[in-house]
């Protein structure tokens, strides 16, 4: 863990407040720019910081390169989810999704291009948007979160085309199954539901907590993270991290991880997961733990792999969570350095 040097300068009110804010910061989401050289990170105060990966990875990187190029207040509430299209950065948090132009975002004082709010049923409390998913074939965006529905929004026109209902509690995560195309969603109710986008119907439901091998009642039944690779799906959260075969809805491999996982992704022939606990875990498909690489935050909430073809030198894994730091792994074996808000 990077040890901050205790400050010798006297701390006035403003400095103390800033230090407290940084101590209590949580980074919920990350997104890589289309050119691959920049990384956007969204935190619980509603701020988005843009880091220059190319500057931080270059050989002349100094301490300032690990600070954001620009930080701006994007939302009033936390920024739970972000995705990037080939020109836009889409961020979502408390109830609405905003779009920013990547070329504009690097300049100070940039304004959002547009913001949209899906039609919510309840008006008492604005539900949060926990997950954003891009469907390139349809050029649409799927939002899911606090109101237990999946909304699809057409990116051209901005209209909300469908609302998929079925979850009984709020939705944590989404994954896209390219082939069909189908969307998988995991929620607080403990179920992973598959939706067919053309028919707008739920085609499959997997209630993970009902399977004894993977359920862990003391953690709860919530599904915090999902990833899919055509026929296979891995999900985790309250129940153990499990690899499922989708067609037969059977759990094939249970990964022996006690701590609940908050983010999981397929990478080459490995599965990377992160959650409570400071490590990024690398699993073989057989269920063996290949490596556990410690990061600098006590708990991780999001992983991002920069696989943009335009910037192969910035091909890194970045992990962020319960701190103001984003860990950068140039090589999956160790943490190279950390960017910091």
């Amino acid at each position: 863990m990077e040890r901050a040097v205790p400050l010798a300068v006297p701390l006035g009110q403003a400095e103390v407040f800033q230090a407290l804010q940084r101590l209590h910061m949580t980074i919920f989401s990350q997104s890589v720019s289309p050119c691959g050289k920049f990384l956007a990170a969204g935190n619980n105060y509603g701020q988005i910081a843009i880091f220059s990966l190319s500057a931080a990875l270059s050989s002349e990187a100094k301490e300032e390169s690990k600070k954001p190029v620009v930080t701006f207040q994007a939302h009033d509430g936390p920024v739970y989810s972000m995705v990037s299209t080939d020109r836009h950065l889409l961020s979502a948090g408390d109830g609405e999704v905003k779009a920013w132009l990547w070329v504009e975002v690097l300049k100070k004082g940039c304004k959002e291009l547009w913001h949209r709010q899906p039609p919510y049923r309840t008006s008492l409390e604005v539900p949060e948007i926990n997950a954003l998913l891009l469907v390139p074939k349809e050029n649409s965006l799927i939002l899911a979160g606090g109101d237990c529905q999946l909304h699809t929004m057409d990116l051209e026109t901005g209209t909300f085309t469908r609302a998929l209902r079925g979850h009984t509690d709020y939705i944590h995560c989404l994954a896209l199954r390219e082939r069909s195309p189908e969307v998988l969603s995991g929620g607080e109710d403990g179920a992973v539901r598959l939706w067919d986008l053309r028919t707008a119907k739920e085609v499959q439901t997997i209630e993970v907590y009902k399977h004894e091998e993977c359920s862990r009642p003391h953690n709860g039944r919530w599904i915090g993270c999902l990833a899919t690779d055509s026929d296979w799906m891995v999900c985790g959260g309250g129940p153990a991290l499990t690899l499922w075969h989708l067609r037969s809805s059977t759990p094939t491999t249970i990964f022996p991880m006690r701590a609940p996982q908050k983010h999981v992704t397929f990478y080459q022939d490995l599965i990377l997961s992160a959650g409570q606990g400071c490590c990024v875990n690398q699993w073989q498909l057989s269920g063996e733990l290949k490596a556990q690489v410690p990061g600098s935050s006590p708990g991780l909430l999001s992983l991002s792999l920069n696989q943009q073809p335009a910037a192969p030198e910035c091909k890194v894994l970045t992990a962020a969570g319960n701190s103001c730091r984003v860990d950068v792994f140039t090589n999956l074996g160790y943490r190279a350095f950390s960017l910091s808000f």
């Binding site: 205790p6 010798a8 230090a19 006590p298």
Partner: protein, 673 residues
């Protein structure tokens, strides 16, 4: 017989027929010579020489033939040659004379020429001389050209007609200049007169001034006596001008920084803030004794000689005692000190005594808080009002344990003092704001040797410092009271802060104690605070324990001396179904955030003395929410330990599954931030 051939006919030159008169001449030829022709004389000479040659030849002939009759002919010829010789002689004489005459004539002519030449030279010289004189004359600048004369118009305008004589001067520049010079002279005479007059005036006035001065100086003792006489009147009317005057008198003996402090504080007290009263304490005589004039030392010499004899008899004091004396000397205080009495709203008074350390050139302060009523100090509040720490960090970082004057380090090294910290209890704290109030400015890393006490520095800091001092005392007193209540397990929430919390709060504060700084650093859940540098040794540390049922929540509190503008920082550790801290439970982290980051909502009405108690109350509320909203574990039998009584819209939200910690007033339900 050789017969002489007759020569060509030559008539001998007979010479002049009559001779000119011969007065004064030596030779008769001298007169003849003018009359004879030199050419004919030359011919005669040539004839004579020829005849002589002939005769000689004939004689020769005759002699060689020999014979008696020859003798007569020889004789004849001899006589003829004698005659010829005589002619020759005459001719010779003539020639010489002619030569001489010619020479004489030449000489005469030459002399004449020389004379003329000389005359010419003389004349030329005179010409040159005259020319020089002429040029000199032409170049001559008369003194009158150096005088700036008034211009022509002015002259004609101003000069009286008898001087300007326009009709004459207009035409004649020489006269004009003369007239102008006259006028100039006239003017100068007039001005000289005026000057003399003015001088005499000045003398008179100077004398008058002298007289008046003497009068004034005689006035002073009279005024003094009047003032003395008015003293009883002053006291009767409660206008202690004299007292103030006496203070100012004493103030004259203050060292410069204390003097600046005194002046600025009195000014501030009179102008802006009636609650501040300033006084000077200490012995004026001692202060005067510090500056003994050098003449006295002579008298002392004889005494000191006698003393020295005595001391040599005694044993020399040990090195340690010597060093100790040196240290005491270095840390010596000026005998005079300035006292401030700051009255606060609730009748408590902050007494500040400012000292000046002469050799170190810094000021220190000792503080004491007295309250209107006797305070019973709760155990945990021991440090709040202690003289050592009550003024600590009035400004961020100003802990008062180190000397602010960089030059002191060198002085300390000489006498073996490590740091001033060991002496602050006795000498007072050398806070930076104290130096600023005394106008002492220590730029970093530059030792200051001369005492420069700057009034403007003091004035600009006076108001802020006084306000900060009052806020400090009041917040400390408020904390004092609150601690008394906290130690009894009651969180004192004032009525105007009740709206921040729901009506029913079940969790209770059971313990409130101070902990030492080292103990705080040892706790396992406070490491991140220590790493960021927020847990220095100037802070005060406390531990609170909140309980509900089987759940025990420990809260480690960092209280910054700058409370309440700098919020207290909480770190939590919950013991309930395992140990939960911010590293393994996101909701504990959220609770800490609610109390630390969102403190501004909890400040309450100004001057926000309620911050700490509100934070503690909120902590109790948060614990209630946490325990009641814990999702029921299906595998465990039995009901939930804490039934949900709080009204919440949703139990979990967001990727971290946060509990609803935000209390909404007046609806009374809990929601998420």
């Amino acid at each position: 017989m050789h017969h002489l051939k007759p020569q060509k006919t030559f008539t001998p030159y007979p010479g002049p027929l009559s001779l000119p008169p011969q007065e004064g001449k030596y030779y008769s030829e001298e007169a003849e010579v003018d009359l004879r022709d030199p050419g004919r004389d030359y011919e005669l000479y040539k004839y004579t020489c020829q005849e002589l040659q002939r005769l000689m030849a004939e004689i020769q002939d005759l002699k060689s033939r020999g014979g008696k009759d020859m003798a007569i002919e020889i004789e004849e010829r001899r006589i003829q040659s004698c005659v010829h010789f005589m002619t020759l002689k005459k001719l010779n004489r003539l020639a010489h004379i002619r030569l001489k005459k010619g020479r004489d004539q030449t000489h005469e002519a030459k002399q004449k020429v020389d004379a003329y030449h000389l005359q010419l030279q003389n004349l030329l010289y005179e010409v040159m001389h005259l020319q020089k004189e002429i040029t000199k004359c032409l170049e001559f600048k008369s003194k009158h050209e150096e005088i700036d004369l008034v211009s022509l118009e002015e002259f004609y305008n101003e000069a009286p007609p008898d001087i300007s004589k326009a009709e004459v001067t207009m035409g004649d520049p020489h006269q004009q200049t003369l007239a102008r010079l006259d006028w100039e002279l006239e003017q100068r005479k007039r001005l000289a007169d005026k000057y003399r007059e003015c001088l005499s005036n000045k003398e008179k006035i100077l004398k008058e001034i002298e007289v008046k001065k003497e009068y004034l100086s005689s006035l002073q003792p009279r005024l003094n006596s009047i003032m003395q006489a008015s003293l009883p009147v002053q006291e009767y009317l409660f206008m202690p001008f004299d007292q103030a005057h006496k203070q100012y008198e004493t103030a004259r003996h203050l060292p410069p920084p204390l003097y600046v402090l005194f002046v600025q504080a009195t000014a501030y007290g009179q102008a802006c803030d009636k609650t501040l009263s300033v006084a000077i304490e200490g012995s004026v005589d001692e202060a005067k004794a510090l500056f003994k004039p050098p003449e006295d030392s002579q008298d002392d010499e004889s005494d000191s000689d006698a003393e020295e004899e005595q001391t040599t008899k005694r044993r020399r004091p040990t090195l340690g005692v010597q060093l100790d004396d040196k240290r005491k000397e270095m840390l010596k205080r000026h005998p005079l000190s300035v006292m401030f009495d700051l009255k606060c709203k609730d009748d408590s008074v902050l007494h500040l005594t400012f000292y000046y350390l002469m050799n170190l050139n810094i000021m220190t302060v000792k503080a004491k808080v007295t309250t209107a009523t006797e305070l019973i100090t709760p155990i945990s509040a021991g440090d709040l009002l202690s003289p050592d720490s009550v003024l600590s960090c009035l400004f961020p970082g100003d802990h008062g344990k180190k000397t602010p004057n960089p030059a002191n380090q060198y002085q300390f090294d000489k006498v073996g003092i490590l740091t001033l910290r060991d002496y602050v209890l006795d000498l007072g704290h050398p806070y930076l704001w104290v130096q600023k109030l005394g106008g002492l400015h220590f730029p970093k890393e530059q030792p200051q040797h001369t005492v420069i006490a700057d009034h403007s520095l003091s004035a600009s800091h006076m108001e802020t410092t006084m306000k900060l001092l009052k806020t400090r005392v009041q917040s400390r007193l408020a904390l004092h009271k609150q601690f008394a209540s906290l130690e009894h397990g009651i969180v004192p929430v004032t009525s105007d802060c009740q709206y921040l919390f729901p009506a029913k709060v079940v969790s209770r504060l059971v313990k409130w104690v101070t902990i030492a700084h080292e103990d705080y650093m040892e706790l396992h859940f406070t490491k991140d605070i220590v790493e960021v540098g927020l847990a220095g040794d100037t802070n005060l540390y406390y531990m609170a324990l909140v309980e509900r049922g089987t759940a025990k929540l420990q809260a480690a509190v960092v209280l910054n001396p700058g409370y309440s503008s700098i919020p207290p920082i909480f770190r939590l550790c919950l013991n309930w179904k395992g140990e939960k801290t911010n590293s393994n439970d996101d909701n504990i982290r959220a609770m800490e955030s609610e109390v630390n980051v969102c403190y501004k909502e909890l400040c309450g009405p100004r001057p926000s003395h309620q911050l700490l108690t509100n934070q503690l109350q909120r902590l109790c509320v948060l614990l209630d929410v946490y325990l009641e909203t814990e999702s029921h574990d299906d595998s465990v039998e039995g009901p939930k330990e804490f039934p949900q009584e709080k009204m919440c819209l949703r139990l979990f939200r967001g990727p971290s599954r946060m509990k609803p910690f935000k209390y909404n007033h007046p609806q009374g339900f809990f929601s998420h931030r």
